[in-house]
Symmetry: C2
């Protein structure tokens, strides 16, 4: 093995367990001090490499145990689309200057589809120029939309938060005799995994009456009739809706404006309020729009035990795989069985993952309901409760000093 240093970075939207992956990477790297001499973290992901902004982990080693319990991306994140070498050679020059300055031989990048695009481009450049640097991806996304992995760390905890929160909202929204329409907006641009998690609340008879996924195009006239039917029966209607639902023409119902982010995605939001306005106008019933917003990915007081454990493990496995000579791969989770829930960790080419999205397969969706296959899939992922450390009523969290 090549002796040298390792750098770890976080990219894309935060999750409540990405720092558990950071913890896994750092702990496993430190265990391998014979090969990995120093461990650095990038500030704001790849920006930290481009702008020479790295931190040696010894600087926060006293806080390391808090990292595992802290939501969000402790070292900052970035939404920057790395250009190809042909488009911008200067940025590659800057990056490899930093690699050289810190003697980086191992690059570990934690994120979703877009982050794997960064891994892919970097790895291609390295191969082309015969550099002795290895690149590995660590999966992260609450959206659960990465292909070639059974699921993605971050999803289980967000799903658990959503399923439990839907039960609480159901209880809260049905206390009055003449109720209202309550619309809960859930994250997931093209993949409805998180929205579908709200179906788990229905196993306890405390779920949404209607659930709309981005995988199923919506006829708004049918939707209005479905709400009329539910409201007519119970004087209440609880709706779970993905931020990414589309009408029959394939247009996002919640599209607020035409701005696009750096990856060309439309900025979404506000679909609950738009639906509410539509229903209020058509039915004359008042509504409450609840956007779960960033709390669904950062609610560290309710995290799935299996998710936190797996988040740490994909970090540890990344170091193990990279030291075994892998490069240009992402750590994946393969499910061996549902009951008992058994998985193994593998590595898969980032080129097959970058920029691709895995939506809910048709076999898991049955009209407005989900099939048993879906529940067999999701239930092990929300099992168990991770520890939360409180002191005087407040969670004890990791915070990088300025």
């Amino acid at each position: 093995m090549i002796k040298g240093n390792l750098v770890y970075g976080q990219s894309g939207g935060p999750s409540s367990v990405i720092n558990a992956s950071a913890y896994g990477v750092i702990k496993e790297a430190i265990k391998n001090r014979d090969i990995i001499e120093k461990v650095f973290v990038m500030k704001h992901g790849i920006s930290g490499i481009i702008n020479d902004d790295l931190i040696d982990v010894v600087e926060f080693k006293d806080q390391l145990e808090f990292l595992k319990n802290t939501p969000s991306s402790a070292f900052g994140s970035v939404r920057y689309k790395l250009p190809s070498y042909l488009e911008d050679p200067l940025v590659y020059e800057k990056m490899f200057k930093t690699f050289s300055k810190y003697n980086i031989k191992y690059f570990v990048y934690n994120g979703g589809n877009d982050s794997m695009d960064t891994c892919l481009k970097l790895n291609e450049y390295i191969k082309k120029h015969n550099l002795d640097i290895q690149v590995i991806g660590v999966p992260k996304t609450v959206d659960n939309d990465l292909p070639h992995t059974d699921h993605t760390p971050g999803f289980g905890s967000a799903a658990k938060y959503i399923a439990n929160t839907m039960m609480q909202i159901k209880l809260d929204s049905t206390v009055y005799e003449n109720g209202k329409i309550t619309i809960v907006e859930i994250m997931g641009r093209h993949a409805g995994w998180l929205t579908a998690a709200s179906h788990v609340a229905n196993l306890h008879n405390l779920g949404p009456d209607l659930v709309y996924l981005p995988e199923v195009k919506i006829d708004l006239n049918v939707l209005v009739q479905q709400v009329i039917d539910v409201y007519g029966n119970s004087s209440n209607c609880l709706i779970a809706v993905s931020e990414g639902i589309k009408d029959l023409d394939g247009n996002f119902i919640g599209m607020m404006n035409s701005f696009k982010d750096a990856f060309g995605h439309n900025q979404l939001g506000g679909v609950a309020m738009k639906l509410g306005e539509l229903l209020q106008e058509k039915l004359g019933i008042s509504y409450r729009a609840i956007e779960l917003s960033s709390t669904q990915r950062s609610a560290a007081f309710i995290r799935s035990e299996s998710d936190v454990l797996e988040a740490e493990m994909v970090g540890r496995k990344a170091v193990e795989f990279i030291l075994n000579g892998n490069s240009g791969k992402m750590v994946t989770i393969k499910r061996i069985s549902n009951d008992p829930y058994t998985i193994q960790y593998e590595a898969y080419d980032v080129g097959e993952i970058a920029n691709l999205e895995k939506v809910i397969p048709g076999s898991m969706i049955n009209g407005m309901e989900m099939t048993q296959e879906f529940f067999d899939y999701i239930l092990p992922l929300i099992e168990g409760e991770a520890d939360v450390v409180y002191k005087h009523g407040m969670q004890q969290l990791f915070k990088l000093k300025k």
Copy 2:
């Protein structure tokens, strides 16, 4: 003591601990079977009395232990302003027919300012007509705005949720180098207690940059400048804002429309979005509006241990006080000391509580900050974590069968 039956009801907005009060009332009533022969609950508060819709607690005795851990109002709630006897004698006739039919001698009503108005009117009618029925109020409101009680059950848990959630939102909203303005809208119509709770997150350096309470009228030009200053320093700005903030003319900034509810209050909501639009227009910086909405009062996975205990105790004390001959009172909490935190339970005339609101005293506010008096007051109320019972990843909750 007069032998007879007891009826318990819930009114107003739900909280995450009102069912712990229900549990306390029911358990304490059952302990006094020599006097209280049967215990009933009203469906939808006073509506259950008017419409003869009561449930004998034996019907759900197998689920009683779950009640303590279940948020929201398990027996339904109501927002109905009881008219005076002169305005509507018929409604009184209906109520006392129900009292008579079920041999109700003890009326226990759990709610906030408006619910105590119901207790007051009922008690006045009873006194005037020399009926042998006693009335007692059990305090409940996340808003913490009841006078003559140190604090109100429901507040501590909502405050704990908000303080911890603000830390999580701070971590989530500051991951990018070029951040955004994040505005978190918090409940509390005239009293800023819940919004002020977000200051607790600043004790851990993870709080909002700016906090706007309804107690302090806001000059929007000054607010814009404050945001410019914060954003200029850190490229991020996290704002906590009460739904009830007012401009210099005393108008609600978040007023969405001119509809009023049954008690004549304006329906609020949307202030975060309104401020966001204003700031985006003035500063050209994008914003995220997060309305904590009903999750702040129903988040049963993070409840204050002292709050849950006190909620149960005010229920138990209500039964004790009523059996000691009290009527027309509400159970109050008197603080004896902050450290060690010590309280005692008393009873206070509902006439002095009904329809009145307790805002944050000026001595607890110092410009944009809170004084030590405020922290000494609030910290004991968020102390400790109440147990949460999960099974297969989901909370085990009480649910009244149809």
